[in-house]
Assembly symmetry: C2
Homo-oligomer: 416 residues x 2
Amino acid sequence: MSDSAFLKDFHAVAAIGATGGNGVERQAATPEDGLTRAWFADWAVERGWPVRVDGMGNMFALLEWAPGEPFVFIGSHLDSQPLAGRFDGAYGVIAALHAAATIEDQVETSGERPAYNLAVVNWFNEEGARFAPSVMGSSVYAGLMDQEDMLAVQDLQGISVRDALSDIGFLGSDERPDAVGYAEVHIEQGRRLEREQLALGVVDSSWYTQKLDIEVLGEQSHTGATAMADRHDALLGAAKIVQMVHEVTADFAEEAIVSSVGRLNVEPNSPIVVARRVHLVADLRSGDPDIVAAAREKLVRDIGTLAEDQGLSINVRDFDVRPIQHFPEDGVELAEKVAARLGLGIRRTQTMAGHDSVAMNNIVPSVMLFVPSVDGVSHCEREFTNDEDMVSGLHALTEIAAEMVNGALTSQSQSN
Amino acid sequence: MSDSAFLKDFHAVAAIGATGGNGVERQAATPEDGLTRAWFADWAVERGWPVRVDGMGNMFALLEWAPGEPFVFIGSHLDSQPLAGRFDGAYGVIAALHAAATIEDQVETSGERPAYNLAVVNWFNEEGARFAPSVMGSSVYAGLMDQEDMLAVQDLQGISVRDALSDIGFLGSDERPDAVGYAEVHIEQGRRLEREQLALGVVDSSWYTQKLDIEVLGEQSHTGATAMADRHDALLGAAKIVQMVHEVTADFAEEAIVSSVGRLNVEPNSPIVVARRVHLVADLRSGDPDIVAAAREKLVRDIGTLAEDQGLSINVRDFDVRPIQHFPEDGVELAEKVAARLGLGIRRTQTMAGHDSVAMNNIVPSVMLFVPSVDGVSHCEREFTNDEDMVSGLHALTEIAAEMVNGALTSQSQSN
């Protein structure tokens, strides 16, 4: 496959669910997500690759050279945040399709049968915008989340994952292929590569992350006819918590921790009613688990004091705790070797964001590559990576996957 | 009609849309609102009173003794806030039905034809919870709001008033009866009557109220992968505004002003995305317009500073400005005379909350009565008024309406 065919495909997929600001909106299991999924399936089937859809909506396009052997997985996710960029996720899936096609051509040309089979994967609901938690499909595959629990998760309209997947025709029942390794390329969600003018990053570890589910309970009353002193305003309490979650980061070194509230829902949310209940989710992340623990402890203490001061009842619950993951050293070295061979600059880096590779790395040796992203922005329409950087990432992914299907990484890893 | 028949009807209607906590939920133009409307229509028709529904969903049950003459209106509203009390609105409508029945009996017994006709009215959407602004139906009747504009108002699901009324079968097209006066009884939304152990309040003026529509625009980004210094978090800005709106009241005498935010919506409202846009509504009210003006000025100034400090764009718009309304002195005196005759304690009071009577008072002399409400709470399930107080209010409304249909108030008012 040619680089120009890859770029043509990438820009064609960006037209699905396109937004006014050059972005896309293809939240998990929406009709737009269904369209990109159909595109993926058509592409694979045209190439002669059978496609399986499992009970969690994950899609696998199979290249089977070694019957009975497990598969090296390459891919990412086609779902997006609301009003998102074109690159996050989709780039990795489309690059994986083209990498697989190139490897297939090489296998046919050489006539040498690889040690393992290859599967291109589109993981369900990496973003977690419509259905929380994020990284859902790969986490279920990796046994970190329970499939039945995840199928029962509902969006804000009360629609379950099961029904939403079924509605778009992607609640499958196919057997899952066995994985022996995983590789993924993704835009960097940060500025390091851009600052240092490097074509590639290889992830050696992920940040420690956790969320706090916070429910603030006050008393519903009339905004116009309740004395200020008589109010127990759940929204006022929640507003103070939003600020606390922001300000707690100032207690630590710069860029050592990020923390914020992205979701907040008010009940009854009427202009002339003092809020009865506010539900919010705080997201805390750091390269150092002790920093998250210290920030969490301070927040829980301060929220307790706030509840007492304001006559509110506030429930705080830890969830979605994700420990630091170390990616295998031989995978990092493989990426460095391939980059050197291709003449591309590379550095080791951490990922602050969650990725399907972090879930998969729990069960098989995984390699996570980053390509530069302008200004380091993501989850917004102005997310941008230029064609040259996308093509460099494709070449690196192709070479890494080719070595992995030949057993290079896996057999080394098994001996570690 | 007997007091016990009134109480029986009141408690029967409280079963429609009943909530677990002894409250009701019958937001405007929902199926539950439709059920109370059908109850109202059936009650009137059984009594032989024709019912008209206008193009704004207002319902009028007509008692016509003097063909060609205008109508004294008595009533309130049957819609409620979410998880609301049983009394706010419904009490006034059901009391008005029973007052009208008693007056009809008196007219038949005496054989004397009143000067004016009588109409019992159920105003559409007084609460404004599902469809803003509040006091919608009576404001359209009084020419303060435009009917077409109001029919186009949408709820948070994008359903218009027009479609919602049509769905429950209450988008009417009947001619509106002409009003010559208005009387309403309502629970007090405050503690004055309870503190002073008085059976009745009569409103001599309404508070000055206004709202601020506030839109906070930041930049959408990834909560996990954006440095704190690079964020323009619309929710953080909004949280600070919620606090400002609360704290501005401390600049004035206690209970001189109330101010709060009851509605706040976050976009995209995803747990792992820094908010792009937050829309909120602040509600400011005082007996003194200068106090509201001073608080508003301080808020607008402080919000401007906040926008600059945080790199946000914040739009603030005044809306729903409602000047102080003075109720006619002869209406207040009529209420005082009736209370004395019935042996009920009464005081003059202001209303902090908006009411249909405040809208109607713009076009016809209006009388607004309050009965005590335990702890002064409203817009919540534990709102409570005892049967004795409800019956006292019913008797006062009946006598006031009887004098009004005989021209007492109206002809005095016209000579003022």
